[in-house]
Symmetry: C2
Subunit: 178 residues, 2 copies
């Protein structure tokens, strides 16, 4: 089946966005030219993205659509009318369960899916659909927001694959789900 | 004034203990002989410890009392009768506010206090009484428990001091509170 892979930035207190999905706290941290934290390589490795409506709305707020690979938005509330015209070949809505979606994508030939956004990562983790997570920890505490992790039915053991300090003073760690 | 320093292990999802204060998830991870993660050096650097009643009760459950330095338990519910006889020279109760306590300790000559336990760390952070945090991230997701961090009045900026991979496959990162 298609495997799920997470590549995400969190505050040190574990949030991927503020409650209103904004990322201003991340933008506060200075970037370093030529340092993308391995994001381009990661993007090259996946067949497309899976995200929720919250992440999708955040992306729509950016000046440009940032992804060249296909994006699947898992949502029970959005309809085709919510997808701007210029994105209709790039973005697809789905109401499938995480497992059913991964099976559909497998049949379409996807090997690896980039699973993005707090709630979606949590539901895919709970269903055992995530193979690994690369978490880039941003040196700030924001106190509240959308957490990367949520409750789990039983402990999930992780295996540390590697960890490195980026030029941006962020710590990037990759864990394999055991 | 006395400065506060945190040295603590958390699950990757940010918990310092399960809801009932147990640390079985931490004990599941194999130790490595001779690797204390810099704990002895850190202990040498502080004049004593400040913790809450939850951490104190957890410590009382261990076979031996592990600390040689003085321990202050911040609690509005415990009384002298809750301190076992053999610890009465080692453990002191206080009902002071975090700031008042740090002022008292300063007058007693404490330069550095080890501030321990989720709730206590959160209240000292909110009062601006923590200088740095060394967080050892344990590769497991436990889903719920006592979080290291809580709400804050405003973003707290951190500065990455150093990060390293321990022989135990844990990632230990030290942040200075800016």
């Amino acid at each position: 089946m298609t495997t799920g892979h997470v590549f995400i930035a969190t505050s040190v207190d574990g949030f991927v966005a503020r409650k209103d999905h904004t990322l201003d706290w991340l933008a506060k941290k200075p970037g370093v030219e030529g340092e993308d934290g391995g994001f381009a390589n990661f993007m090259d490795s996946v067949d497309g993205l899976i995200m929720g409506s919250g992440s999708f709305r955040t992306l729509l707020g950016f000046e440009q659509w940032v992804y060249t690979k296909p994006v699947i938005v898992l949502s029970s509330s959005l309809t085709g009318a919510d997808i701007p015209k210029h994105l209709q070949t790039k973005v697809r809505l789905s109401r499938s369960s995480p497992k059913a979606l991964m099976q559909e994508l497998d049949q379409e030939g996807w090997k690896r899916a980039y699973v993005d956004g707090g709630k979606i990562v949590q539901s895919f983790l709970r269903e055992g659909l995530i193979s690994d997570l690369t978490i880039t920890s941003v040196p700030i505490l924001i106190g509240e927001g959308i957490p990367l992790f949520g409750t789990v039915e039983a402990d999930i053991d992780l295996e540390l694959m590697h960890s490195r300090q980026l030029a941006t003073s962020m710590i990037q760690t990759t864990y394999r789900v055991v």
